[in-house]
């Protein structure tokens, strides 16, 4: 391979890795939002997942146990959000913010003894034979298992929402909870499940960061990725396939920033670190500019509390 091709492949592979946690988190939030619930706590749930997965990996020595534990932890804190917003009918925006503040604090507290602890993260897995194909093998068949899992989950969610009866019910609940309730669907129970799915996926996204992307625990290591995932759902106009496009776009922006520096260009790391956030704003503006597009695609009951007797 020529050095140019090598660099390009390295960038593409790194892009995929940078985008994968965003795919997980955004996919989870997409399902939650499709059921009509806006959970702004992704950042907090990701941090809880990251720290839980990391600690479990240290204790058991198995990153797979770490991943499972991270998903459980994410689900558990999402239940907290569920009880508050769905049962106690608190404001979803405020409760999501609370979840993020709580997650930042709790993860920092719990993870204190684990800063700097070395672990054996999740390793890339070469698919036999296919992994040996030059260039293509590196690009497609030598990733860690979670990259493949993200693609499988994406396909599964897309299929679930578009092609199954349960997916249809979930969407109905998100469009009009009164109508879904009148037909006899358990609106609250369905929303609980959607919130828990979002929590598990955020936990998984966090685990990807602390077990694969940078196998270590540092305070606040998500660095706003949870919020970027929220923006991705809007960017994707609530369609799973577009989540993938958006996630890799953002992954690419992060990676290109790093490579600009590595290539020896004079650029402050601080200024380059702004890029993903600025890109998020730009993308939000471009997508939201057309108010009709948002109105047509956003679940109609998004963020609205549901009280069966009211």
């Amino acid at each position: 391979m020529s050095p140019e091709v090598e660099t390009l492949v390295a960038i593409l592979v790194a892009t995929l890795r940078a985008g994968t946690p965003l795919v997980f988190a955004a996919l989870g939030e997409l399902v939650t939002e499709k059921s009509g619930v806006l959970n702004l706590g992704i950042e907090g749930m990701m941090l809880i997942g990251a720290v839980a997965g990391f600690i479990a990996t240290v204790l058991t020595g198995s990153p797979f146990a770490g991943v499972v534990f991270a998903m459980l932890a994410g689900t558990l804190v999402s239940l907290l959000f569920g009880v508050l917003t769905l049962t106690l009918l608190t404001n979803q925006v405020a409760t999501g913010l609370a979840l993020t503040i709580f997650g930042i604090g709790l993860s920092a507290f719990v993870g204190l003894g684990y800063i700097g602890t070395p672990i054996q993260g999740l390793q890339p897995l070469a698919v036999p034979l296919l992994g040996d194909i030059p260039v293509l093998g590196l690009l497609l068949f030598r990733h860690d298992p979670l990259v493949y899992l993200s693609l499988v989950l994406l396909a599964a969610v897309a299929w679930f929402l578009a092609r199954t009866r349960a997916g249809l019910v979930l969407r109905a609940v998100g469009e009009s909870h009164e109508a879904a309730h009148a037909i006899g669907y358990p609106v609250i129970a369905i929303r609980y499940l959607a919130v828990m799915f979002g929590g598990a996926m955020s936990g998984l996204a966090g685990a990807y960061l602390s077990l694969v992307y940078t196998p270590q625990w540092t305070e606040n290591m998500t660095a706003g990725r949870g919020w970027i995932a929220l923006a991705l759902v809007v960017f994707a106009t609530w369609r799973p396939a577009r989540v993938l496009l958006g996630a890799y776009l953002f992954g690419g922006i992060t990676i290109v920033g790093l490579h600009i520096q590595a290539a020896g260009f004079e650029a402050s790391s601080h200024l380059l670190a702004m890029l993903p956030y600025l890109a998020t704003i730009l993308v939000l503006v471009l997508i939201s500019r057309d108010a009709n597009r948002i109105r047509l695609n956003a679940p109609a009951a998004l963020g609205k509390p549901f009280h069966p007797d009211a």
Partner: protein, 359 residues
């Protein structure tokens, strides 16, 4: 369902006051359990957390110093939240205020006079306002979600501060530490009480609380903000502009947060470094809700949140417990505040649902 919520015809007045107190009690209860689980004597830990930091005049002055930026940010946020405008980027607006105000102090280093400080306060406020204007513009002009844009801009502002203090603004005699030179005498807020660090920023915060109350409770604009927030349809019918409320919320919130940031760099810090704020802008969100979105309530809530910051430091100093406990308490407190709100709006009944009587 075993537990049922019945909407109250009218929000309970007594509970409106009691709910934050119940939330506080629940937070204290959880704290006791948490300290017990950590193997600490809960009474000693709670004493170290809540009493010891403020058992002296110096301690009380430190409380006021920490409450000032919280109150400044939270009053602005509360005005916005009343109008259903979700500015959660106060941390970034605070940072921009610190950059703009502090930048002025650096620019006029050595040639300063009594005119400098007022100019810095102005620059801080305008800097925060400008940073707040961006999400307002993107919301009103392009319909972009203000929660996400204001938060993204917070990360941008923090990186910008990092760039400045690591790069062009770094103290030439500072042995490469990422901090600016110390501001000159005339660029610092006056100390109000000898032997303490109590500075003029506290006065600015009190003024902001007073003005915020006038705006929300005694002005037509405040009325418009509340109607737009609570009954958008009625507001549209009355001809109140939602866009105007978005702009007002962000300009006021950004300006106050900017002044808070200036108060930090021209007050206790006296220079710029990469962490101007330990999260005042985010904690202010909790203050706003805990204070029931009322400026006076916000002031009390700011004192409490300030105590959480001080208490965390005190625990670290005296019991060798991690500073991160502050964050846990902050999250718990906000959860409990939101959960307790349910009792204000609903009656909680046990037992299965019964058909509501015909009206």
């Amino acid at each position: 369902m075993l537990l049922r919520l019945e909407p109250r015809a009218q929000a309970s007045r007594g509970l409106r006051i009691a709910a934050p107190l119940i939330a506080l009690a629940l937070t204290l209860g959880s704290g006791t359990v948490l300290f017990g689980a950590l193997g600490q004597n809960p009474i000693l830990a709670l004493h170290t957390f809540f009493i010891r930091p403020i058992d002296s005049l110096y301690g009380l002055s430190e409380l006021a110093i920490k409450a000032a930026p919280l109150a400044l940010c939270a009053v602005g946020l509360a005005i916005g939240f009343r109008g259903n405008v979700w500015n959660i980027g106060a941390e970034g607006q605070l940072t921009m205020g610190a950059i703009c105000g502090g930048g002025l102090a650096l620019a006029f280093y050595g040639v300063e006079g009594p005119w400098l400080l007022p100019l810095m306060v102005l620059a801080g406020g305008l800097g925060g306002m400008a940073w707040g204007a961006i999400p307002a513009l993107l919301k009103t002009r392009f319909n972009a979600n203000e929660i996400l844009t204001s938060l993204m801009l917070t990360y941008v502002a923090i990186q910008l501060l990092g760039y400045l203090v690591h790069g062009p603004w770094r103290d030439p005699e500072g042995y490469n530490f990422p901090e600016t030179r110390l501001f000159g005498e005339q660029a610092l807020l006056p100390v109000l009480l000898d032997g303490t660090r109590l500075h003029g920023g506290v006065v600015l915060a009190l003024i902001a609380v007073g003005l915020g109350w006038l705006l929300l409770s005694r002005s037509f604009t405040g009325f418009q903000i509340k109607v737009v927030g609570q009954a958008p349809a009625a507001a549209a019918y009355a001809g109140f502009s939602r866009g105007r409320v978005v702009w007002l919320s962000f300009l006021i919130g950004g300006g106050l947060a900017g002044i808070a940031g200036l108060g930090e760099v021209a007050g206790p810090m006296g220079q710029l470094n990469p962490t101007v704020s330990p999260g005042y802008g985010f904690a202010a969100i909790i203050c706003a809700f805990l204070g029931r979105l009322h400026p006076f309530g916000v002031l009390l809530a700011s004192l409490l949140l300030a105590l959480l910051f001080l208490g965390g430091e005190s625990l670290q100093m005296h019991l060798n417990l991690p500073l991160a406990i502050t964050g846990v308490f902050q999250g718990l407190l906000l959860f409990f505040v939101l959960a307790c709100d349910v009792f204000v709006r609903y009656r909680v009944r046990l037992g299965p649902a019964v058909a509501s009587p015909a009206p």
